[in-house]
Amino acid sequence: MYSSMAPFSKTTLDINKLYVSSNYPNKIPDEGEAASEKQEESLPSKQSSDVSVREESDTDPNQSDEAEAETSPTKSPTTPKSIKCKNSSDFSLFSYNNGVVMPSCRELDSTRSALSAASAFAIATAGANEGTPTKEKYRRMSLASAGFPTDQRNGDKEFVIRRAATNRVLNVLRHWVSKHSQDFETNEELKFRVISFLEEVIHDPELLTQERKAAANIIRTLTQEDPGDNQITLEEVVQMAEGVKAEPFENHSALEIAEQLTLLDHLVFKKIPYEEFFGQGWMKLEKNERTPYIMKNTKHFNDVSNLIASEILRNEEINARVSSIEKWVAVADICRCLHNYNAVLEITSSLNRSAIFRLKKTWLKVSKQTKALIDKLQKLVSSEGRFKNLREALKNCDPPCVPYLGMYLTDLAFIEEGTPNYTEDGLVNFSKMRMISHIIREIRQFQQTSYKIEHQPKVTQYLLDQTFVMDEETLYEASLRIEPKLPS
């Protein structure tokens, strides 16, 4: 349904925005998926407003003007001006929209407040404004106004439209401000404009009290000082590790390492802003400019993986290597319990590297229990069946959690490359956009909940210390030195 609307957003931008950002998401069902998955409860509205957010940031200046026109009776007594200036080719689109709105309107009527019905009505009628009224439209109009007090109901179309429009605009803003606060944190100009627009709304005597209240609430959300989670930042952790001589592996317990690694992994993961996930920037030549935080994430992953391999290989003595392996596996298992699947993969993939994997004598001495545990952990994060076990685990786990970013990057690469941005008719391919937003939403969900793990500088110093970490080649050389190749 949405896909049929989106392409028109250029010409009917305001209306579409109003329409798609309804806060009655389930009333505009996308039969295919709305009901099926639990986190999708409010999916249609979220997704569509993700899109409208993008649109708005582009068209913001007009936005406030139009909204003003719609809410101020002195300026636009009959029709919102944005609707007036449509060229004739738009009307067929609107009648299509009408068809879409109709069923939801019916449902609204039975279950929801009259205001939402009014919104739907407003959209339906707005577009067809210049055409001759049809029976259908009158039917809908009466439906819509049913919930209003009698004195306002007398076919006061303008009143209804204005209420609906105000309601929609405020809903878009409320959703935007509460769900995507990142946008405002990084863009002072945008924040300023939204606040001044809302202030106008608050001081508009023509508006209903509840509308002005709603606007005031949005401002409050927007200007609220981020209480923060008082969590240490990555920068602070890194800074504390600089220039310090780290204590060796033996000085930290498996539990300490698992916890601090989890803290670190999550700090690195949660920093990735969502726009880095668009357009496969991390696979492009200018990846460091376009997706610095994804790059930091992968670098961190590789650094930790190298650290683990180096830690094992720097033990000349075989029993020391064995206990090092066993301890790292214990760390991995604790990480699994902490839902840090990223670290499970950091550790198991280290053990899988040729430099470690080939240490025949060492592996013979590793205990059966440890081997069984490795097997179990490997199965969990195996890429087999497109990470089916890991996906299952993620689905069932409550945050906090650190997922393996690579899985999502592959998903995004698949979607981006396998699906066109536009349909054959030149319309925006909404199925594709929905798939992408799906993935990003899942990532964000895991980014938002932080671990309550107390930072222990002595452990993170060890984890971030790169002084004894070897690169791929050196690792392999070390491996060959410790256990030379047998003549075949």
Binding site: N306, R353, S354, W363, I415, N429
Partner: protein
């Protein structure tokens, strides 16, 4: 799954980012997401059953696109692969120069006998070509690779690349060299980590692991 097949080959698609690996795969599988369906990325995506010389072969194709930078992870994908498409972009010298590294990875991390076909992708962009057919085919010859130029856009040579690779593997098996190659994909699935390790420890890959 009720589908039957005589052989299961694990294939890799490797090469630098941006060479069109995923496009090749999409083109081959012909499983482009339909615009209007709510397609999620299915578990079975990335496999296709083909007919090679009268035998049905299921090709399970592993594509690490997007994950390339997680080096230690992507390297572990090599284990158990019977064939690989090594992809470069004919309009990018950089991707061609990287081939040696990819090849070393493939030969050391997979079986040394892995069957590799070199694919010069984006054949349709001949005007922007930076790598000639001749030098690439010489490189292929020196390194005992098969070679084709492909276009994921038009589909030219895409199916051929996969089939050619599969045919070669099958020939090796049927001529008795299969033990070296070991139908690794097959046994790997049952053997898991330790099964694979057992193979390494015994000095050859071919032994099936219970």
């Amino acid at each position: 799954m009720s589908e039957t097949y005589d052989f299961l080959f694990k294939f890799l698609v490797i090469g630098s980012a941006g060479t069109g690996k995923s496009c090749l795969l999409h083109q081959f599988i012909e499983n482009k997401f339909k615009q209007d369906s709510n397609h999620t990325i299915g578990v079975e995506f990335g496999s296709k059953v083909v007919n090679v010389g009268g035998k049905t072969v299921k090709l399970q194709i592993w594509d690490t696109a997007g994950q390339e930078r997680f080096r230690s992870v992507t390297r572990s994908y090599y284990r158990g692969a019977a064939g690989a498409l090594l992809v470069y972009d004919i309009t990018s010298r950089e991707t061609y120069n990287a081939l040696t590294n990819w090849l070393t990875d493939a030969r050391t991390l997979a079986s040394p006998n892995i069957v590799i076909i070199l694919c010069g992708n984006k054949k349709d962009l001949d005007a922007d070509r930076e790598v000639t057919f001749l030098e690439a085919s010489r490189f292929a010859q020196e390194n005992e690779l098969m070679f084709l130029e492909t276009s994921a856009l038009t589909g030219e040579n895409v199916e051929e690349a996969f089939l050619k690779c599969a045919r070669t593997i099958l020939n090796k098996i049927e001529s008795g060299k299969g033990r070296d190659l070991g139908l690794l994909g097959f046994f790997w699935g049952f053997g898991g980590f330790w099964g694979g390790l057992g193979g390494v420890l015994d000095g050859f890959w071919g032994s099936p692991v219970p």
